[in-house]
Amino acid sequence: MTAVLRLLCSALMGLLLFVSLSVQAQDKVITGKVIDSKDGSPIVGASVVPKGSTKGASTGADGSFRLNVPATVSALVITSVGFDRQEVAITGATVDVSLVQANASLNEVIVVGYGTSRKKDLTGAVASVKAKDFNSGGAITGPDMLLQNKVPGLEITNTSGQPGVATTVQIRGTSSIRSNNSPLYVVDGVPLDGSTARPNLGIGFGGSTPNSNPLLYIDPNSIASVDVLKDASSAAIYGARGANGVIVITTKKGQAGPMRVDVGAGWGVNTGYMKRFEVLDAGQYRDALKKYKQPATLDGGQDEDALEALTQTGLSQNYSVAFSGGNEQGKFRAGFLMAKTDGFLKKTALDRYLATINGQYKFLDNRLTLDFNIVGGTYGEQLTSVSNNAGSAGNIISSAVSWNPTIALQKADGTYNFPSNGSGNPLAFNEAYNDRSSVTTLLANGSLSYQLTKGLTYKFLYGVNHGVGTRKASIDGWLEGQSGISGVGVAGLADAKLFSQTITNTLNYRTQLSEKLSLDAVIGYEYFKRDYSGGGTFGSGFNTNLSQSARTEILYTAMMQNALTHTVFTYINPTSEIQSYFGRAILNWNDKFALNASLRADGSSKFGSNNRYGYFPAVGARWTISNEDFMKDSKTFNNLALRASWGITGNQEFPPGSSQEQFAFTSFNQAQQVVNGNPDLKWESAQQINFGIDFGLFGGRVFGSLDYYNKNTTDILFQTNAIQPAPSSLSFVNLADAHLINSGFELGVGAVIVQNKDVTWEVTLNGAYNKNNVTDLLDPNTGLPLLIKTGEISGQGVSGTLGQAITNDQPVNIFNLKEFKGFDKTTGNQIIGADPVIGGDPNPSWITGFSTTLRLKKFSFTLNAGGAYGFLIYNNTATSVTNIAGIAQGRNIDVAAYESEEGVGSGVAASQRFLEKGNYMKLRNFTVSYNVGSMGKFVKNFTAYVTGSNLFVLTNFTGFDPEVNIDKSNNSYPSRSIEYVPYPTPRVVTFGLNFSL
């Protein structure tokens, strides 16, 4: 039967060929240009083929083509990767075509786990963002920031304004009650473990600095697309690592065609605070001294703005170049980025030297394909003293906001003023604090795939992720007013090494089972191994750099032998291994019904010996109603599909070794048990259902999706108080009965409002609502709700205070603070309730995103904005740094305290008084670009642009930035929405240009 069909097919082809040959004598010449409907830019390398023919032409660098077509041909077929296929009637000698991006297209291919899927086969909630829709601008350093507010249900929170700092990334809410809620990242087919080789090094002020973004080594310019797998049927193929969702990053690849060079350059400056936390200026401060009857001696007579003094304009630069080219047998692309990003605070910067190199080569009649992807480079951070949990000694920001504005920071001779009021001198902090880290990361994979028979392909992939990092930090001893530092100096060195390997074997089978039924199946085996180690040394008691007048340039870290005392630490983490078997089948019947089923078995060395393997099944179905006969003629709907899915995913993010009894050498001549093994320890399990509607209206002018989900996390991995007597106070267990439920809905809508030759205007909007609730978190003995305190409130006077709780029938991290009952009428003292009460949700119920692009001929205007609503932020800065008590010590206070009825004797206390509405809407970036087009003989597609990032934020929150999630976790229980003396967010303006050769 098939043989007959094949014969028939080739016969037909031959006939067509004959026909086309026979009419070649009567050719006509058609010229024209192919442009992108979105911005009018020329599309290079688009294929233009006369309808019914196989031979055609490709567009050149300016999008133009010239083609001989037989006179009988009445239409051209234009195709290009990433755009919808278009058929155009030949009406004259010139045919101009504007292609629509394949965004709304159902034939679009989406990278899902271990393969690709056509959008029309998708049964789950998957969002795909292509390079041209990414956020842009000078504030972007990590790939995750490209996606901010682009995907409904994906919440990416900047935790700090420091360049390169880690963001908090959550898909569909908080689904763990441990610190790690990050999704799994998969880069070019290799799952990452989310860690970086940047060592942590706590010196001096007792606070830990924020982590750096683990994806910093990935050049954002070299990313082609990011796919976000949100629901269980999409993520379950990643089994025990899929519970927090999966983010699949695909780098740009070479295209068959002429050699191409893309060049980009940009220059950016910090133009000021996006928003300031308002403290008193010198004039207000003098008024305050009078109002609070403080001695006039506290007025230093000057006018100083410490927050301003700390910042720099800087000049950030980035230069990128990418070479690509090849043919059908071999393609390559090599992209390079050199970037220096100056931080907003002095002595902070991020330098990146990154490369993204890949190639694809085909052998043996195209049956054997060799692929390689190398993503890597080195990045260096220069950090200042901004710590998450600084205590009474403070950090650079606490010092700045509490600085008496009537005293100059520096004397005329360049030395610093050190008042004895406890504020410290922020500029001196900044100068005396030296902290540099450098991380080199290489993520490389190579794969071989062989087409065994038609539709059946075997693939072998080997990937490594190797990172090494060093960090050197010191605080000069001339800095006054810091216990343990002043007069002695401290320094520390640390290094860390991360090495992980992935081996994947897959068999893919794609076939047409019958005329209408197709099958796309994959089975595979994967092995993952991870090692992490590091160490470091601390020294203190230096005999140089101890007085302001005798400062040297030499850092303590360059002469550690000069220290009086040294301490050393080294560690090698337990090796962790994961071994997995998985399979997935997608059945499609006539493009009307699709069924997706997958199963993964994950064995992890982290799990206890009684629970080595977990099984993660998922199923999903899709009904594409618009392909039914009764909808075929609909003028309104060009696409309408219903989706439903169910699945179970896992989470195994707990420290390796938690299931084993471990003994450690804790210091000289000492050994002790440090972990009590739990052989029953296993993965956390999340069961999720998802219902979705995809729609396209008015010929694709309006498109979008609506999803409802309910995610139920059980066997919650949890650090509990160990059963004493025990080797450690906490130990990991699975909470058998408790549930953590996230449910909500997500809407994403896009519309092409205007689309013609000169003007296009597109708008996309998304919104997600999530509700988070912990249930059955009960004491097994008494049946009473458990209350786990977290959310560390920091600073002088509030040590050890925990402001959040995880407890039964409440959202994770609900605030747990004492009630604030106003001020005493006579004394002005705060009246604070006796015991903390539960109340106040720090988790946003709504997150929204908005973006729009308007193209007017050669100008384009793009705007991206986003916001979060329905949550509270705790202003820890106001509690303990700029409280009213400061004025009596000669420190500065915040405007809110000044304007309140609070008396100067009122003490410090953490309470609900400092809970503020967090609702905000932030303009992330606004770009104006001008497409010059070709310049001279070689320069093509020259575009110049100006981007403003973080231009403004609409909020009633009084702190620096309502987009806040400083790590205030306690015993690795997470925290949420607590602001504390953060690295402020700058406005950044970037000017840049791009062109191709």
Binding site: P574, S604, T666, F668, Q724, I793, A885, Q889, G907
Partner: protein, 546 residues
């Protein structure tokens, strides 16, 4: 061609299978499994485990917010008032002093966990084939942990060596709890190495802990109405006499030498101590907290204004138990009228460095040059006896209220150690005068030898420059700080050494009102079992009233 395809078709999955089937292994890197520990360390390893149990003492017994806080801040000897923008800490300090704590209190949990860490590590030594001597030392450390748990919480969890750590251990309380500790101490006494210094478990330390058990057993069984069995008192006397008669200990002529940076050699009173070595951070307990926690910011050099934490104070009631204010205080070195333990005298190595005169600090403070110090607002740095009744200082004098207590003399031996450490002062856990006073108390309580008891007390008083007392009533129920009582003598000698709460309960006055604690509830004779511990071990029972 077809055959070739088939080969590939079948070899590919086979290849996949051969590459699979890894035996999942978690290789430990810096740590060892229990089996490896035995093999790798041999008999020497047991010693390393024992050392770890010793160093576990550092945290709970040194930190200002652990055992010290529960045993001292809950009494008339110590409290931490909130001072404007400082020391609120969600009220944790105030509730300890005014007895309104609950089962979620962080210090109550951390002390429970910290003491049980000693309990665990000491027990674990016995899993690793210890020598007789090592086992005896480990059992002493465990007994000290259990005694302290019993004292604070009225019960303690107990595991035998080798017990499955995932199972809830048994819990002992009351008479059973004390008697087990007594039987342990009696059992190990012959095996304790005779040559052990006072930094290790030694026979006199075992005897001292036994004395504490016998003296307090009646209180541990019934804290509301302690009884004192004559046989128990006789045991206290016998054990104490063994220590006194050994002549290994004597009163150090300068009381504050017992707490000085060189007290490891200068003091002859240490029976069981935690050694710290100046300048070495390994195994260092952070003893500098003992003066940082109480001294004002400006007690130090201007370069280090935040070195003092300006927190812990004592109250006027306790100060009055010295009888201070009655006799004219001249504080000359030869002054024999005033109890030297009150302090206020020049101490070489401290006063010449900072102006600090160890002891109870009242009134104007001076620097090393004799210049009167000021607080950060420019007011005279003159410590004021009066503390706000709600322990929340909001007035202009908020930095100077409260009498400060410098018992451990700051280590000025090089720049920085006095505030940042590591300082050289050894932490006194058991001190000789406690033994003498326990013998005296037992003699007086049992009536077996009241004059002998009084003579012992007067012997101590003479060494401290205080006049002898003719009669010494045990306690004045109407005035906890009556200077003429035996309880007051214990306070004067042992203030801020972690015994006050136990003493007040044994003397039956813990629930009496004193400064800043007007009322009380009988439930407070015990701390609650922390809720988190209760959830982990159903064998623990919450103490009545919580």
């Amino acid at each position: 061609m077809l055959a070739y395809k088939k080969i590939l078709l079948f070899t590919a999955p086979a290849l996949m299978l051969t590459l699979s089937c890894t035996k999942l292994e978690e290789d430990l890197g810096s740590t060892l499994t229990a089996a490896e520990t035995t093999a790798a360390l041999g008999s020497n390893g047991t010693g390393l485990l024992l050392n770890a149990a010793y160093s576990d003492l550092a945290g709970p017994f040194t930190s200002q917010d652990l055992v010290f806080s529960l045993q001292e801040n809950s009494t008339d000897e110590s409290l931490v008032p909130t001072r404007g923008g400082d020391w609120d800490d969600n009220g944790v300090w105030r509730v300890v002093h005014n007895h309104t704590w609950n089962a979620d209190h962080g210090q109550v949990l951390n002390v429970f966990n910290g003491l049980n860490k000693i309990n665990f590590d000491a027990t674990n030594v016995m899993n690793f084939k210890p020598s007789k001597a090592q086992e005896a030392e480990a059992r002493f450390l465990r007994a000290l942990s259990l005694y302290t748990l019993l004292d604070l919480y009225g019960q303690y969890p107990f595991r035998n060596p080798g017990d499955n750590l995932l199972n809830a251990p048994v819990v002992r309380s009351g008479a059973e709890g004390v008697n087990f500790i007594i039987s342990e101490l009696n059992a190990i006494l012959p095996d304790i190495p005779a040559g052990n210094a006072n930094t290790r478990a030694n026979a006199d330390a075992v005897r001292t802990l036994l004395m504490k058990c016998y003296l307090n057993i009646g209180a541990f069984i019934n804290r509301a109405a302690p009884t004192f069995d004559a046989a128990d008192m006789a045991q206290v006397v016998t054990l104490g006499n063994a220590i006194i008669n050994s002549a290994k200990y004597s009163y150090t002529p300068n009381y504050f030498d017992n707490f000085a940076p060189n007290n490891g050699t200068a003091s002859k009173e240490g029976i069981f101590v935690y050694p710290n070595t100046a300048g070495v951070s390994a195994n260092h307990a952070g003893v500098e907290a003992r003066w940082n926690m109480t001294l004002h910011y400006n007690s130090y050099t201007p370069a280090n204004p935040n070195a003092g934490w300006n927190g812990f104070s004592t109250i006027a009631d306790f100060y009055s138990s010295f009888g201070a204010g009655v006799a004219p205080l001249t504080f000359t070195p030869d002054d024999t009228l005033v109890d030297k333990r009150l302090g206020g005298r020049v101490y070489p190595g401290a006063t010449d460095k900072s102006g600090i005169k160890p002891g109870l600090l009242v009134g104007q403070q001076y620097n090393e040059a004799g210049v009167a110090l000021k607080d950060r607002k420019g007011n005279p740095l003159a410590y004021d006896k009066t503390i706000a009744s709600n322990m929340i200082e909001q007035g202009a004098n908020l930095e100077v209220t409260g009498i400060r207590v410098v018992k451990y003399v700051p280590d000025y031996s090089d720049n920085g150690k006095y505030y940042g450490g590591p300082a050289g002062n050894w932490l006194m856990i058991f001190r000789y005068p406690d033994v003498v006073l326990m013998v005296a108390e037992a003699k007086i309580r049992s009536g077996s030898d009241v004059p002998g008891g009084i003579a012992l007390v007067n012997g101590l008083r003479a060494a401290r420059g205080a006049a002898p007392m003719a009669t010494i009533p045990l306690v004045n129920p109407n005035n906890v700080d009556d200077p003429n009582t035996f309880l007051a003598e214990r306070g004067r000698e042992l203030y801020w050494e972690g015994v006050r709460r136990t003493d007040l309960i044994r003397f039956g006055v813990f629930l009496k009102p004193w400064g800043l604690k007007p009322t009380d509830d009988p439930k407070n004779l015990l701390f609650p079992i922390p809720n988190q511990a209760l959830a982990a071990n159903p064998n623990l029972k919450q103490n009545p009233g919580y």
